[in-house]
Subunit: 445 residues, 4 copies
Amino acid sequence: MPDISIVAIGGYNEIGRNMTAIRIGKDIVVMDMGLRLDRVQIHEDTDVESMPASDLIAMGAIPDDRILEGVDGRVRAIACTHGHLDHIGAISKLAHKYRAPIIATPFTADLIAQEIKSERCGAVNNPVVPLDPGKRYLITQDLELEFIRVQHSIVDAAFAALHTREGTILYANDFKIDRTPTLGEAPDFARLRALGREGVRALITETTNAGVSGKTPSEQIAKDLVKDVLVGTEETRSGVLVTTFSSHIARIRSIIEASQKMGRVPVLLGRSMEKYWHTATRTGYAEKNGLWVCGRRKNIDRALKRIVSEGKDRYLPIMTGHQGEPGATLSRVSNGDTDYLIESGDKVIFSAGVIPQPLNVSNRHAMETKLKMRGARIYDNVHVSGHACREDHWELLRMINPEHVIPSHGNLITHGHYLRIAEETGYSLGSNIHLIRNGQELVLG
Amino acid sequence: MPDISIVAIGGYNEIGRNMTAIRIGKDIVVMDMGLRLDRVQIHEDTDVESMPASDLIAMGAIPDDRILEGVDGRVRAIACTHGHLDHIGAISKLAHKYRAPIIATPFTADLIAQEIKSERCGAVNNPVVPLDPGKRYLITQDLELEFIRVQHSIVDAAFAALHTREGTILYANDFKIDRTPTLGEAPDFARLRALGREGVRALITETTNAGVSGKTPSEQIAKDLVKDVLVGTEETRSGVLVTTFSSHIARIRSIIEASQKMGRVPVLLGRSMEKYWHTATRTGYAEKNGLWVCGRRKNIDRALKRIVSEGKDRYLPIMTGHQGEPGATLSRVSNGDTDYLIESGDKVIFSAGVIPQPLNVSNRHAMETKLKMRGARIYDNVHVSGHACREDHWELLRMINPEHVIPSHGNLITHGHYLRIAEETGYSLGSNIHLIRNGQELVLG
Amino acid sequence: MPDISIVAIGGYNEIGRNMTAIRIGKDIVVMDMGLRLDRVQIHEDTDVESMPASDLIAMGAIPDDRILEGVDGRVRAIACTHGHLDHIGAISKLAHKYRAPIIATPFTADLIAQEIKSERCGAVNNPVVPLDPGKRYLITQDLELEFIRVQHSIVDAAFAALHTREGTILYANDFKIDRTPTLGEAPDFARLRALGREGVRALITETTNAGVSGKTPSEQIAKDLVKDVLVGTEETRSGVLVTTFSSHIARIRSIIEASQKMGRVPVLLGRSMEKYWHTATRTGYAEKNGLWVCGRRKNIDRALKRIVSEGKDRYLPIMTGHQGEPGATLSRVSNGDTDYLIESGDKVIFSAGVIPQPLNVSNRHAMETKLKMRGARIYDNVHVSGHACREDHWELLRMINPEHVIPSHGNLITHGHYLRIAEETGYSLGSNIHLIRNGQELVLG
Amino acid sequence: MPDISIVAIGGYNEIGRNMTAIRIGKDIVVMDMGLRLDRVQIHEDTDVESMPASDLIAMGAIPDDRILEGVDGRVRAIACTHGHLDHIGAISKLAHKYRAPIIATPFTADLIAQEIKSERCGAVNNPVVPLDPGKRYLITQDLELEFIRVQHSIVDAAFAALHTREGTILYANDFKIDRTPTLGEAPDFARLRALGREGVRALITETTNAGVSGKTPSEQIAKDLVKDVLVGTEETRSGVLVTTFSSHIARIRSIIEASQKMGRVPVLLGRSMEKYWHTATRTGYAEKNGLWVCGRRKNIDRALKRIVSEGKDRYLPIMTGHQGEPGATLSRVSNGDTDYLIESGDKVIFSAGVIPQPLNVSNRHAMETKLKMRGARIYDNVHVSGHACREDHWELLRMINPEHVIPSHGNLITHGHYLRIAEETGYSLGSNIHLIRNGQELVLG
């Protein structure tokens, strides 16, 4: 009988650059191929799109997949479970090494196709296969991939269940337990519970927020917060700018909805705003209606000019720049580089937290300082997380009840928090919960 | 023409023991007489109810009102703007020194009457006069007190506007700008805006959260969070305990409402739970229906026994102890002193934050550790604050547009944050915004 | 050939209650039997001395040694590597279960004998055998124990090397790399380096400060800091009180030395001050000269009275209470319970940090608040740690170069930090560095 | 009789860009003209040397001295009390507006002359007059300036006492109470105490560390720490790099001294290292001996090449880059841009803390990450502060006993901490301790 192993390639020692290989006998299925953005950021003037994989590996920015050379097997498929860069951002650098299809939910697949197209360093020819949650894909005679609907801070997120003769491996990165999502349906708890009953050989799961007590609030709470900030004020005539994650379609829709309550016209501004919104319209997550969306700098500047001339109080610009990224629309506004000049009392709403990397903290600080010097009022962290917290993990673990648990997508501290949750549920380190490090292979007993 | 001065008696150097005197010529109106609980707590075995005022003054627990002896005037009225102990807790120690009525909104007045009754150290005979928000009380020929409805984490909170020949003084402690409260109506913005138009001589206001960016979320958000935690779970059969502020009637009602969605019977447990709930029923903030409320230890223990015997999954006990106070119901549960024994998977919901005093932090830590050792799952901070944040202060200040601003109810750090808000609105330190310290009198220019 | 295993009994999941068993074939040697004080503290009115072991195990206060029942072997010796309570505090509760001698360096052995004597719950009859660092003790034909001199925040600290036919196991808890100690000699680097050359099978080591960058400063720095604070001031006539760890004889000697530079007479006050100082004089770490030492409350109070009457500026009282422990001498001073009344400008020097447990933080806060209310000036953290920091661990690991490393004496977070150090040195998780949890046995490959 | 006023121009609302004007009748003396570096840093590609004053004022980088236009008087002298950029960095932008000499201690005067020379935007022609501590300078018939020796993290720091007919104003920015400095003598306590006896009308003083408890350790402690880190190790053959403040001559000398104990040749590398060291040799604070000092990039690179070729273990490079400043020598080393390639085990000693600005934190993080990726071992914060802590302020205040106290050089939070110290010493806000904001003039009563 074929044995099963889990190979930690990336994301086991850090947040970012996720990549896991699951080997069943001589067949390998790769889960995710992600980018670690903060490693790119600390090297000034790094142009990821034109850098070769070897350099990106050396700087720790993408998974070091050379360890697969020592693993006895062939990659049969690559599955990506959602469209964030730390899950798909290395596809264009690494996938061509493997003659295998890339399987992803429709929204994710569309993004992957765009990633591949924008790559300047080499050609990735792997077929990209969209697969709906709830559906299955036959990888080999003995290997079947199933996507299960979950919720995360991007649409079309899924768990990947790999059904093998030796049992099912459930790859559960990233997710939140949200019973009242604002876009799409709740996670497919019925299917997850059924999997638990059928028996799961191993659960590979993220630990990002395992140290945060309680449960992650529903995205509905974020929607309420957005509305509360935008509508629950006595100052209704000033300029209002909102910035949020471009890929967070649900959130953007909540902001658009609130803009209607305010009687303002929403406008999406920024290159990645355009990219993700268009992807969403193509895949049915947003309507192809007449929403004003500007991606190119020239168009953005023209839009801002028009907004100012027609009246700031008639529009709600929704823009890139929530982390203070240089060159993003809000950063340019903060520098006074556009016609939208901040005046005393204008509001800037961050529907996002600060990603706790020193460079983000610094960029945000610089941008906020400039905005405040111009008189802006700042509304920070109008946001809820997309990652499961401690009690959500506890629920999932009890629901799935796997033989083995392998924390991935985190560092030793977040894995340590997860380990305690697992111990409280009855697992024991080294016996059925396993800490592995990038570059290690765990053979399931 | 009579001059006006503001005398900082307590709460200007610290959070707690609020007391302000406003002198108009020879007439003085006192605003609030509060207790500073953390000063009581660091002295072990302190029994406030039987301690004389002088000792409590010496330990910094109540305002040092002896400074009024040097102020040339007579106290004509004492107004309390809401029912928290840091606003009314020194009434029973200090009010008898002044031959003046105590004026408060109905809920607050009821609590004050109870405070006075429970005092063991001396008799307070001042009349307690309930006054509805929106109504006025004639103190002297030339002095009129008006209450204006606001929102806070307790019902029936009000601002006090003191109308004098020299203009209006607005005492605004404590409040939040909540346009969608879950109990009672939104603050009376129309009246506040009218006051602003009429002209306000001085605004005395709290600064507790002036350093917290953005706006305080509506209590509606807390209600949503409570529901999300209680209902948004796949683990529906375990025991669930909730603890929150006894005086936060709105929150308790949200919890009761959620209990109905869960199909569980709510039960209020704890001495102060009973006290505030009964006050709420008497004043119309809660229905006098058959809700199960137990205040005495014997009754609490009997109730918990019955809950266990009939099934933990049929009840939702709502209890005291959110700060880990020794002797509170949840503390006793955590010690295994009741029949409600925590089992693995039972949930404990804290619909409260930890008040950031070391003793609270320690008590909470001890209680949570014990609960976890018994297998409890902890849901922390299912809560939003009742204090205005930075942008709420900015809004209020622009709405009222007072000649002078005097930060009260805070320390130098929170006052410093407020000062910056005021400077951004056009005020200038020493000229029309004034930092004063406990024991100082500010004569308005 | 006999196999070797390491059994994690206590201190592997937490800071405190250290206990490790090393099994060589059927022979077991136990290292340390400690108490976890913070678990005692959160249960009010816990009297450790009169509680049975089972209760203390249930509350997580002492190691759960019942797991040894499932280990196939017999305890032949118990070795304690220094005299802190988290290493010897459970001797009086657990040692009697094993017919084995307790081996410790002289200072430690003296403390153990006192622990045993003060136990009220049962009789511990194990012989206590003093063993000097550099000396060896034959446990069985095939098992030899060697103590190696190190430095820590208590005198006579040692590593324990267990020489077996299968190689040497080095138990290295707790230590600092101090080349310029103020009492005793530097760690025996020559012997440690020799051990490294001979080959060490496994290193078991603490991780308390593994997350703190750099090296722990020498105790010489603490001595300099003490002198700087006491002598480097222009205010030389006020009362000065010092509090520090009673067991930290080196520090106390530095304070005494500084007192002489100040021209003040040092006085040791407090029950544990007396206990440790007398132990130090018996074992040659302090002179039996006429130093004034008071342990009993009556004597302390008399001494403080005399100090006040003769002049605060003639004495330097060195007292218990650095963590604000209720009942300790400084706590009593802060409450005004002695004749030494704090006056404005009196200085209180904490030659200790705050142990980061909420109860300590709370106790310290309460005590400092009271001291400040009386006018005291506070000098905090005139101290350096006794635990190795990151680079010290890195040095030790390279010096010893063991086949296997087992982090002990820490929690998952500190172990995680250590793991990274070991990885940087070439070790690999699961292969030659092993994370084990309380209750687990690791068989060395 | 002429009245006296204090005009807060810069540094009263923030750390940085210090500038104070003291007006005595119609005569004005300006104290310090500094730069706020973090405001420069958040604006990318800002070239201070070629920017006009107006732009730098607009971005808050230099004091807005236009408020002096509204002050009735003429600037008679500009005094700079030490050579850090936040005290002299705006001289080259602002001093030419005033026909007045610039008076400074010799080391400071030399730096000012260099600042003026490097200015590309306009000509500053004011005479620069060196004045030794202990000496006096007659500004007008009625105005005399005296410098009093203090200690700070740069040599030749002084207090400025302005003797007027209305009494003495003591400007005390920045300082530490160090009785055992390693370079130069202790502060002139005798003169300070004499000033206190003679009577000081007003004390203007910094509050940077007023919130830090205790006393700032002597620079002797830093020297001991440096030695402990460099010499107190068993790893003696690896490469060692040290980085520290270029202007901190005392520290650099301690490092040089330790290098001799290590048997390594010290080498100073970096443009500002060269600048300050040469200034020190010119002014007698360092010997003009054969120390190897390289300022230009070409020379630095040549030196590093030679160090590597002759053996890393023969040299101790002391370099710029402690805050991770892009382009500084250590940053270039971390990027692999020099021949000194970091190998596993090489040590990097930061004899500096991280200046708590987000951009510094980010730069340091990036640099440390790169250094660690190359195998460096990091020794952080081998440092003590140059700013007085709480008890030092308390001592100075009691020593000087001024009629009025004006906190400067800080923000509302640090001023708040200082205010409490002053209150504990008997001062009262608004009466004899005054909080003023940039742009305000305080007329002394």
